[in-house]
Amino acid sequence: MATETTAAEGGHVSPLSLEEAGKCVDSHGGAIGMPQLCGEWMGNQIFWLLVALVVIFFILSRIALPRIASILAERQGSITNDLAAAEDLKAKAVEAEEAYNKALADARAEAQNIVAQAKADIQGDLDEAIAKADAEIAAKSAESEKAIADIRASALDSVKVVAKDTAKEIVASMGSKADAKTVTAAVTARMKG
């Protein structure tokens, strides 16, 4: 009775009668006290909660969690692989650097060898050329000396002839007939002295 009058006073023709809505809601549809303590709603809430929990549990344990676990494991695996690959590449780089350094050192040594070789070759050629030149010079000077000796000898001979002739002429002009043999001997003796 009382509720009917309040509903009338409130101006609402509420479809919710107290019998239908229970004692948790007043005729205006407002809450009476704490809706949390309304016993009539608890069964419904618990039922739907259990449904929701079971659904979530099966979704998680059957699909979501194994999938995320596999994704994480896969990622961990690929990170490990990548790290190993990086380690390999690093080792290879170090190797390559060593090879490069070795090649560089080899090239340097070879270059030095070539330079030494070239130096030696040049020195050899030079020595040979010097020796040849020396020999030629020696030959030429020997020839010249011989020529000088020849010239000197022929000059001496000429002097002898000229001296004999001159001596003969001088002797002849002095009035005495000179023995050719004597004059020659005398001139020769004099020239030796």
Partner: protein
Amino acid sequence: MATESQDAAEKGAELVFHPMDQFIVKPLFGDGAVGLFTVTNVTLWMAITVICVIALLVLGTSGRSVVPTRIQSIAELCYGFIRKMVEDVAGKDALPYFPYIMTLFIFIVFSNFLGLLPGAFTTTSHIAVTAVLAMAVFLTVTLMGFFKHGLGFLGVFWIGSAPLPLRPILALIEVISYFVRPVSHSIRLAGNMMAGHAVIKVFAAFAPMVMISTGIGLLVTPLSILAITAIYALEVLVAFIQAYVFTILTCVYLKDALHPGGH
């Protein structure tokens, strides 16, 4: 009566306080009574929770990318967060219970955050819901403790490190605290959610004050809007923290069951 309503008409409006109406359970279709299997707003918001869980943890990870997308990395973050919590708090042998704990956490955290949407129904603000969650934890943990350790599980009440004369007294306290666990466990969550939402509604009821009395309203309306904003920010924090607290307490109880007396 007539003068009263005239006064109200002169004022133009009245402040209406219905902070608890947001917790009313209503049938979604029609106005009938709420039976056990009636599809209600509880059903709706729990379904939305389930859909969000599927969206985050199933659809979000469907790419299975090694370099995760944003949603996938959030899903992975949740997974890692709870898994690490179970492992750190309850130990490695608690890992078989990880899907169970993850279910609790993900359900509570989504319900809490969805409840913060304006007009939403907060399922975790109801003691019926949190009590079921807490009782499920309590029963699981207790039964498992006895199943694994037999009567040795009672060692959880017998503090070996305390002096002998004190042990019976401590045992009594421990027994009481053990049985209070599901109560505090459930009321903590429901109470936090309910209180914050009710306070927001109370401040919201003060907000139209400027339409009733301009003088006081100029002061009260901006203040109440500011207060709604502040409480809402706090509630965002509480929504996560309560889910976290519920989960970590579950882990602690699980540890007690797995290693009774191992303090």
